[in-house]
């Protein structure tokens, strides 16, 4: 049972992830626009954090720490950061050279590109890379963005600009769409100017998805898109 305008009674179970799918959607949708319920949820999330302490104490293998260090070293600079960073660093998997060419190309053609965005949906870049221009929506009329996909579809980058910075309880979520299925691939925030660039870590080749969407969701993301859509675009080849 829920309050007429709030979902307070569902929040304890939501914090435990023990609601069924329909109720989870209901709560997630409500949270995107309700500060009161987000505040209440945080209190219950702290309870779930404390509950961890009743787990029987156990020790991992001593070498796990070394494995972590090795893993971090292997990841190198592909890690994502909250702050703006050069695009070629986030695009490392397709090679520094390609990334460098990409950033140079983007910088050099920046003005031209943004002039053309209103007219073209897909731009073909160097080495067969595609830049898919994302359309904004009524809820974010100033926002712009594009997705760059490598020629083999294995790597991609999302760049957004002038997306409104969100309050502390909400984040943007990037979805890849295939049929009626939405796959979450990133939850992110933007800097003061609404900018963010990030690598798209898709479970499968980007060429297998039909579209990309960016929505506003509760912090940490939602299992399915619930909030307002702010950007979207088709990934199909023209």
């Amino acid at each position: 049972m829920t309050d007429e305008t709030h979902v307070l009674e569902l929040l304890p179970a939501y914090a435990l992830d023990s609601l069924d799918e329909v109720e989870t959607r209901l709560v997630a949708e409500h949270l995107t626009g309700c500060y009161l319920c987000r505040t209440e949820l945080r209190a219950y999330q702290e309870v779930t954090g404390q509950l961890a302490l009743i787990a029987p104490e156990a020790l991992p293998a001593p070498e796990l720490g070394s494995r972590l260090q090795a893993k971090i070293q292997s990841l190198g600079s592909t890690r994502s950061r909250s702050t703006r960073q050069p695009l070629f660093r986030t695009f490392r998997p397709v090679g520094a050279l390609i990334g460098l060419m990409l950033i140079i190309g983007l910088l050099a053609s920046n003005i031209l590109l943004w002039q053309r965005l209103n007219h073209l949906e897909v731009l073909t870049g160097p080495l067969g890379m595609r830049a898919i221009v994302l359309a904004n929506t009524e809820s974010s009329p100033q926002a712009s963005g594009f997705v760059i996909v490598s020629s083999d579809g294995e790597d991609g980058v999302l760049v957004v600009d002038e997306l409104p910075p969100l309050d502390a309880d909400r984040e943007y979520q990037l979805w890849l769409v295939r049929g009626d299925q939405n796959t979450s691939v990133a939850v992110f925030s933007v800097d003061e100017s609404g900018y963010r660039g990030l690598r798209i870590e898709a479970p499968e080749s980007l060429s297998t998805y039909s579209a990309v969407r960016v929505t506003v969701e509760p912090v940490g993301g939602s299992p399915e898109p619930m909030g307002e859509e702010v950007l979207h675009g088709s990934l199909f080849n023209p």
């Binding site: 209190a43 219950y44 309870v47 954090g49 104490e57 991992p60 293998a61 494995r67 971090i72 909250s82």
Partner: protein
């Protein structure tokens, strides 16, 4: 001169700046807790270690998204751990014995030195407090809570496992969480 211990949020901020040493410190501080929760959920040591590894790799990759005003670092870490471990359970479509009694298992707080004596003692005190709070719950509320928390069951699944009406389970979980919240806020 004794080095001041950085708080958790400072460590996360340094991890966001790609300081691997900060990640090592966070790992030293929380690896046992993360592993313990993962093991309680997945019931397999090797899988729990993989979960633990993945959690700290995610921290390395996502430290920049952490917001101190949202949750304590420990809460954030545990949320990542639970989600990941429960996802694995659901993917495997098998779970540890549904009625495995997590609550009554006695843990052995050995090896405190791995944390540092002070942190180990602090964590032990916190653990004891939380266990006392959970002990204050009626047994049926505790049972439903443990199945939700450590088995990742939805309320409907708990109702099925315990052969109780769904409404009863919803009430038990809601009351349990409300009581714990109150006790923690009073603490």
């Amino acid at each position: 001169m004794k080095e001041l211990k950085p708080d958790d949020a400072s460590l996360i901020a340094r991890i966001a700046q790609a300081q691997a040493e900060a990640l090592n410190r966070l790992y030293d501080r929380y690896n046992r807790l993360v592993y313990s929760v993962a093991l309680a959920i997945v019931g397999d040591r090797a899988v729990a270690e993989e979960v633990t590894l993945d959690v700290f790799v995610q921290v390395w990759q996502r430290a920049g998204t952490y917001r101190p005003e949202q949750a304590q670092v420990r809460t954030w870490l545990i949320a990542i751990t639970r989600h990941h471990a429960i996802d694995i359970l659901r993917m495997q479509k098998s779970r540890p014995e549904a009625n495995a009694v997590i609550w009554n298992e006695d843990s052995v707080p050995d090896g405190q030195s791995a944390h540092g004596l002070e942190e180990g003692v602090q964590l032990s005190i916190q653990r004891e407090r939380v266990r006392q709070m959970v002990a204050e719950l009626p047994a049926e509320q505790r049972e439903a809570l443990v199945l939700a928390y450590f088995r990742g069951y939805t309320q409907s699944q708990i109702a099925e496992v315990l052969k109780q009406p769904l409404g009863t389970i919803k009430t038990r979980i809601r009351l349990a969480m409300q009581k714990l919240r109150k006790l923690l806020e009073e603490d």
